[in-house]
């Protein structure tokens, strides 16, 4: 068996052992339907509500403001479809996750208007652009907290203030922020916020939408009066319990300073990857500085390399990383995020995302560094384009030198 190192934690994270342990009883002895009045139902109801309190603690809100869903996509859709009606205007950005982007595009086909606010070269939305996009019929502003491909954090608190002043609902997709940085819905000033279980070492198939008290949200799923009539369907008890435990562990992690350790590991990985020639940090300005980011993500281009081939070659040697977004067949499509940031198409295709998780060790980072250095070198040796460009660069450089006095 080859050694396998997983640095694709923005795609999904492994369930932590404590989370698995917390979930285990709900596959067995505690099997009840949380809506049942008997002993079995009471046991699972209690577990669901404890989990709700844990999630509320992670987000700084009340338990009654947490709606459990099947995941981030459902929560994003619930925010967009639950708040807007035909004729309403929505403001979002060009770098949202497809769960928001395509929900908004679908709303356009149903008679909503949507403004897609651009980002600058660092991947940042200018809050002034959001303010300028506001119209009389603007119902919702939805701008993500942290981007999945670059990790860049938007100025959500400022956008929250703009939304509050204009009395417009503000939703933020915090799927990539939750568990990585502390979140406080009141500091952000959002009315809705999405999180997903499996991005913070909880299970797949569960997520939550924070809905500020008093928000008029129409349910998408109709049935029983689950989740205070905001989301019908028997609760996914073990999933919810897992999400609750993951939220608790995230909070203790912040208290321990896990996020600072994570940032140090990411910074080392990034620094050493950037020592490979003809590489660069996506989103960095001319000083090499990045916008504020979550502590686990870096997105780097390797000139002259086909990112898709690099990801496959690394996978075959045991390192899991990713590039762009996988389409339905599993093929890679150029990243809409990097493209929106104005990256050259060849660089967008030469970009790879590395994202760390709580399970990664310094040894994992060393393994990744060694393998990436070796593989990038090998791929460049095979690339006639890169070699030609490199040698002409060298020629140009030596010409410049020889042209001196």
């Amino acid at each position: 068996m080859i050694r396998r190192v997983y640095l694709d934690n923005n795609a999904t994270t492994p369930v932590l052992p404590e989370v698995m342990e917390a979930m285990r009883p709900y596959f067995g002895e505690h099997f009840g339907n949380a809506s049942s009045i008997h002993h079995h139902g009471q046991a699972t109801r209690a577990a669901v509500e404890r989990a709700r309190e844990s999630v509320a603690a992670l987000l700084g809100c009340r338990a009654s403001e947490v709606v459990f869903t099947s995941g981030g996509t459902e929560a994003d859709n619930l925010a967009v479809f639950g708040l807007t009606r035909p004729g309403d205007h929505v403001i979002t950005s060009t770098i949202e996750h497809h769960a928001v982007l395509n929900a908004c595009k679908h709303r356009v086909s149903q008679g909503c208007e949507v403004t897609f606010v651009p980002v600058d070269g660092r991947g940042l939305v200018d809050p002034a652009d959001v303010r300028r996009a506001i119209r009389a019929n603007t119902k919702l502003i939805t701008i993500m907290f942290a981007n999945n491909e670059t990790g860049v954090l938007q100025s959500v608190a400022e956008i929250g203030r703009i939304a509050a002043e204009a009395d417009i609902y503000f939703h933020t997709d915090a799927v990539q922020a939750a568990g990585k940085i502390p979140i406080d819905v009141n500091r952000i000033g959002c009315d809705l916020l999405t999180i997903s279980g499996h991005k913070l070492h909880g299970p797949q198939g569960v997520g939550a939408l924070y809905v500020r008290k008093g928000t008029q949200l129409e349910a998408m799923l109709h049935g029983g009066r689950h989740e205070r009539s905001r989301r019908a369907g028997t609760e996914n008890v073990y999933g919810i319990v897992g999400l609750g435990k993951a939220a608790e562990l995230a909070i203790t992690g912040f208290e321990r300073g896990d996020d600072k350790k994570m940032a140090a590991a990411r910074d080392r990985l990034e620094r050493e990857l950037l020592e490979i020639e003809a590489t660069g940090l996506n989103g960095a300005d001319s000083n090499g500085e990045c916008a504020p980011r979550v502590p686990n993500t870096t997105n780097i281009y390797f000139d002259g390399i086909d990112g898709e081939a690099l990801v496959i070659a690394l996978d075959l040697k045991g390192l899991a990383v990713s590039t762009g977004a996988a389409c339905s067949s599993g093929a890679i499509e150029p990243s809409h995020v990097l493209t929106a940031m104005g990256l050259r198409p060849d660089r967008a295709k030469a970009s790879v995302r590395f994202s760390l998780g709580k399970q990664n060790t310094p040894d994992d980072v060393d393994f990744a560094l060694g393998l990436v250095q070796e593989t990038v070198g090998r791929l460049r040796d095979l690339s006639p384009v890169y070699n030609k460009a490199a040698s002409s660069d060298q020629r140009a450089a030596s010409n410049r030198r020889s042209a001196g006095p």
Partner: protein, 379 residues
């Protein structure tokens, strides 16, 4: 003891390539499954003449699922690689342009030359595979005496795909395996069943993969409309012109040269006493020349962009058999060099419906000498 290699298999989700992957695994090779994502079927949905929901075969999710299932059964790594851009540039656009120029293209050969044995081979090399293997029915062998890689016809003549492979270079052939070359199709299916592959009973596909339902005219219209060519040359009748007889008599009009192929009898839109056939399409004047069956025969053709396989160059004229379309029985002929990359073919007997845009492939017995693209037929 056999040496084992790392081999990338081009997997389409069909019986042939799936069986290739299973065979190479059984031989102990380290096998990596690759599927090329070449065309997005949804792309032209809703455009001029295309329904909102397009059912096509190419790169369909179902085929990728099938390939993935097979890879999982075999326990091999499997990846889908995206080559949509190159496919459009090197296959789809030339396909459209050829039709608009009154020629009849073969996209499969272009795909082999530019995608399967070029881009895919590069990916294979990059991910550490020494060779690629495909489910084509053909054979590749190294000839010590000639010091060249040879492309040969397969054991199953009814499945012979060498006609589409004439463009392979020595470098490409040296890195290519055609494990089905010595087998018949029924044997391949039998083997697929023996390996318990889920796709063992999947029907064969014949049509051009990116053209839904084989309706190439509808595809051209939709593609041009998507490209912002409005009105499309087709709907705007910009490619329309006169229908003339070989002695220059105008007998009608036609709505576009792309509607015709040399040898075509149906759909000419003119009524005469004796059966009429398209004998020539003149791109410069957009005239479609029609005539009697006997006028379809010519003895010579000129092929351009010639690739030679069994020999580095054509010094002396050479006796070969030449195939001018996929289902054509190779006919005895002499070939001689007619300038760089050009070959003049002179058949012993006149051949019917030599069609510009198709390939002329030269055979010496089972060996593919080379081939080129038919430019013109001449009397």
């Amino acid at each position: 003891m056999l040496t084992t290699e790392t081999i990338a298999v081009a997997m389409s989700g069909g019986v042939d390539s799936s069986t290739v992957a299973a065979m190479l695994c059984a031989e102990g090779h380290s096998v990596i499954g690759l599927t090329m994502q070449l065309w997005n079927q949804r792309r032209l949905a809703g455009h001029e003449g295309m329904p909102e929901s397009v059912q096509g075969r190419c790169c369909s999710i179902d085929d990728v699922y099938d390939a993935r299932r097979v890879a999982e059964t075999l326990g091999i790594p499997y990846y889908v690689v995206n080559h949509e851009e190159r496919f459009e540039r090197d296959v789809v656009r030339p396909f459209v342009e050829e039709y608009l120029a009154g020629r009849t293209p073969i996209p499969c050969s272009l795909c082999n030359n530019h995608l399967k044995f070029d881009q895919l081979l590069i990916v294979a090399q990059q991910i550490g595979a020494d060779k690629i293997a495909t489910g084509h029915y053909a054979q590749v062998v190294f000839d010590e005496q000639l010091n060249r890689w040879l492309l040969k016809r397969p054991a199953d003549r009814s499945k012979d795909q060498t006609y589409f492979l004439f463009g392979l270079t020595q470098e490409q052939l040296s890195r290519t395996l055609f494990p089905l070359g010595g087998m018949t199709k029924p044997e391949v299916r039998e083997l697929a069943r023996a390996y318990n592959l889920v796709i063992a009973e999947k029907p064969d596909s014949q049509e051009i993969c990116f053209v839904p339902g084989g309706d190439y005219k509808r595809f051209l219209e939709a593609y041009l409309s998507e490209q912002g060519v409005e009105p499309t040359p087709i709907s705007g009748e910009m490619v329309g012109g006169e229908m003339v007889t070989s002695d220059g008599k105008v007998i009608g009009e036609h709505a576009g040269v792309h509607n015709f192929t040399v040898g075509q009898r149906k759909g000419l839109g003119v009524a005469t006493g004796s059966p009429l056939y398209v004998i020539q399409i003149r791109n410069d004047t957009r005239q479609v020349v029609v005539g009697k069956d006997e006028e379809l025969y010519s003895r010579t053709l000129r092929a351009s962009r010639v690739n030679l396989i069994s020999t580095a160059e054509l010094g002396e004229p050479m006796r070969v058999a030449v195939k001018i379309r996929h289902k054509h029985q190779p006919a005895p002929a002499m070939i001689e060099s007619a300038g760089p990359g050009e070959v003049l073919v002179t058949f012993d007997d006149p051949q019917r419906a030599i069609t510009p845009g198709q390939a002329a492939v030269f055979y010496d017995g089972d060996i593919v000498v080379g081939g080129g693209w038919i430019d013109t037929s001449q009397e």
